[in-house]
Assembly symmetry: D2
């Protein structure tokens, strides 16, 4: 590690690499994240209906995703935007898990919801807007579930590791760091995808790194090409938005892939990296063991 | 209002100006914020001890501050940094109010603490890191106390008004917007003080606007000069860090003023704007009516 | 000076302060810039016609400006935008000087034009886009005229002093530094006015500091209020755009003041700082001694 | 093309795509840039000596580079930094071309040097600091050589195309756009590599796009991984810094690759994209036809 980086990141001992520390592999059912294969999480921005979610879950599972994303609690900036279906959305996610064997990642917005979300989710997502919400970080640090921690819009990598350390300090080291684009002066894309963050985080931290090409650019046509970039620079996986009918999506329609676009992207990625596979036993055991 | 601004801010009807809307005056005891006089909030970054806080409260009250700031819950990025004294800190703040008549502004970090903080504070502060923590915004929207809402490090003014609208939508319109510097490529100061935000917010929003010159620059010698700038561009007040011995401060020592520096700044500011005064009756009634 | 700043700026010995260095006062005719009074430079973005310039020159001189701005060579980003009148524009500027006694500041875009511009201009302006054009900096370093050096859109203060040092190293220490707003993620104003740059530059550098509130915000209604901020934080002067009919301006109409707005701003500023005055002898001698 | 992009880029007709416009292939000797193969330009930041350059040229040619980079005129921010060997450096570059058959790309800093540089260089480089130096852009627009146009540190993609249009408007359409990292709040890398700029530029512009992973990150260990990202997102080539002994380099040593690192990177890249090859006839003809 460069001296510059060693100095920047030295205050976060639980999440940075030391000479004797192995990389942390995060296990979700029998999916191993950080173990070499590229793990794909896919699904709609928001859970809008049972039909929308189940259809999407089947499509992304068939194309090779192993984890289903979908927001039940939505962190919209305006109080008048769609806020998500709440607990009803969580139940739909659980149903999709039973029917497809996909694991579930979903965002938690409030300390008060941590227990409820942890009851349904396999992975707790902390969104960009909450990366510095220390109370929430500490809550998920005690929740007993792996955490997908998204980088804040203007967080340095040091800020991101500090947030991870807040979770780890409460006893939870099952953390995945997620690069999802930062805010800059640029106007051609929604955010600026900081691709170099991936190899830097892989070098300084022991945690798996996930890329989110959907939020990184905000433009459907760019998602597959940025996914490819994320895969070849060493990310351990990605999270991507897919919707049966993006034009009608209640949120993030412009950056959501159609089913066939997702499938084409998965075939493309398989040329560059080994893809994590969903084992049949996994589906069976998860379907049986939960809910 | 320019057409450009009208378009940017139209989605936040409760907090933006309309042709028939008066400016919102926020009342805290008999202090009126947004009514023409420049209101000064001052005190240490963190409540460190009873002695430190009382000494500071007396000094800032004597020099003309009418509201005392002091953090009991501290949003530090590292889990190993000083986290504040918690409820003990709130009690010390209440004691300072009894002894000096100053109103209290203090930060709330967690939804779970909103009731406890509201019991002691006159003004609830939402810090930069939590400006997009919607669950917390909604909680303070229901807490029955005025709110000091700090702009996020990389929040546009639209983002700031969206956050204010989240509070207002829960029934609380007693909101003060606070410009405290944004994150840019600059390295000479801790943040970049976006001074133009003050007149823009005064034109598009009906809420009072407060400046925080301490966080805006992070350098003691610049605080008085930036305070002056804030005063002449139309801010309704400022919040500033003062400490009896900045070198020993547990947080933000580099940007905290000494007592005599604070007093000199207050004399300087009085040349430029009318300063809000603390009335004796206020002190008496507040001292009698609370705790 | 803080240790942090001393370190950042130590490589530029000609333009930074040393214990024994006095502030540099730049003399333009009998106008002294950096000597305590606030010097106002005003005029249109571009010289469009003799009539437009002379009318503006008279109006700004009457209201208290002592230097006339006006672009003869325009650095437009598109090759199809108005490029300025060139040498014809310089001659119109010279005529305005003869008629009003105002000194002239105008931009030079090309090394090849340095001699021609120096023949007509009292102050050579280096625009933001050319702040790192070292060949041009070196040329104006040898031209024998004072230089107004505008900060680049994303230049740190260190970058700005480095550019000044390039000019100074060629023998020209008559340099004024100009803060004109930086590029950030903000969308409410054209640029972000980095007001703290003024006191920082005044502390670390020996050169006068000028503010440009017109480019800093790009919105007419904000110009006077930002000018006031610049004046109270210690700037030695300002440069501001004024146009007889901004709606018809060939460039920067949205940020140009009308004559009466300029006059009102000058009266307002006089309440805050001592304004530099144009002496009659100055007019006479300049009118006689040039062209 | 998205409606958003079409609107942003519509003012630059010579360099943006139209329904009937083919991609521009830039020919340099018999190297075709923009024709499908990934073109590698490599060499030291600065030409420091004949020995240093020739050694590097041989090493990069052997490993598969087809164009040699090397600065003879250096745009250093401080006037006291190494300024390059000037015309002497150009002569060394020409000698390296004769001995290796590599084409030469080198930066031009001043309008006054355009003819001299064009006499020696096969490709004229416009550096980031000069991307908005319109006088220089127009000069290289008339110089009869292809141009490598580097994106400014804080230039939007629209600004970059505007600069390209300035060159094209003078009759020169042999322009390559170069993404080399932008300035943001990040501190872990020298700049932020805006990888999404590559596919956006490929979609909106007809010009070839080159990536510069060396400047994009400023850290040797990251260069090969970012080069890989650039290759898979559709860049037409890259420019990369290589030095025989980076610790002794007069500039940019921290980001320069050693010979064996460069060779390993080239082997790695060949797994992802077809690499442009240097034909023997090319070497022969160039060696015969110039100097």
């Amino acid at each position: 590690m460069s001296a510059n980086w060693a100095k920047q990141f030295s205050e976060y001992p639980l999440v940075t690499k030391s000479p004797d520390s192995a990389t942390r592999v995060v296990h979700v059912g029998d999916i191993a994240i950080g173990a070499g294969a590229f793990v794909v999480m896919a699904g709609p921005c928001s859970v809008e209906s049972e039909r929308q979610l189940l259809e999407t879950a089947e499509a992304v599972a068939k194309a090779g995703a192993v984890i289903l994303r979908g927001g039940a609690f939505k962190p919209r900036s305006s109080p008048y935007a769609f806020q998500g279906l709440g607990v009803e959305g969580l139940k739909i996610l659980a149903k999709a898990r039973r029917e497809t064997g996909l694991a579930i990642v979903t965002e938690v917005l409030s300390e008060c919801d941590v227990d409820a979300v942890a009851e349904y989710a396999d992975i707790m997502q902390i969104g960009s807007r909450n990366m510095e919400n220390v109370a929430l970080l500490e809550s998920v640090g005690r929740c007993g579930r792996p955490v997908l921690l998204k980088r804040g819009m203007v967080a340095t990598l040091e800020d991101l590791l500090a947030a991870a350390e807040c979770i780890a300090a409460k006893g939870n080291l099952d953390i995945m760091l997620c690069e999802r684009g930062i805010r800059t002066f640029g106007t051609a894309t929604r955010n600026t995808f900081d691709i170099a963050a991936v190899p830097v985080l892989k070098e300084v931290s022991k945690l798996p790194v996930i890329v989110d090409p959907s939020h990184a650019c905000g433009v459907r046509s760019l998602v597959p090409v940025l996914a490819r970039a994320g895969a070849v620079v060493g990310a351990d996986g990605m999270i991507v938005e897919v919707h049966p009918d993006p034009k009608k999506a209640l949120s993030d329609g412009e950056q959501s892939l159609l089913f066939d676009q997702f499938e084409a992207m998965m075939r493309d990625l398989a040329q560059y990296v080994p893809m994590a596979l969903r084992s049949e036993s996994c589906c069976a055991s998860m379907a049986g063991g939960r809910d």
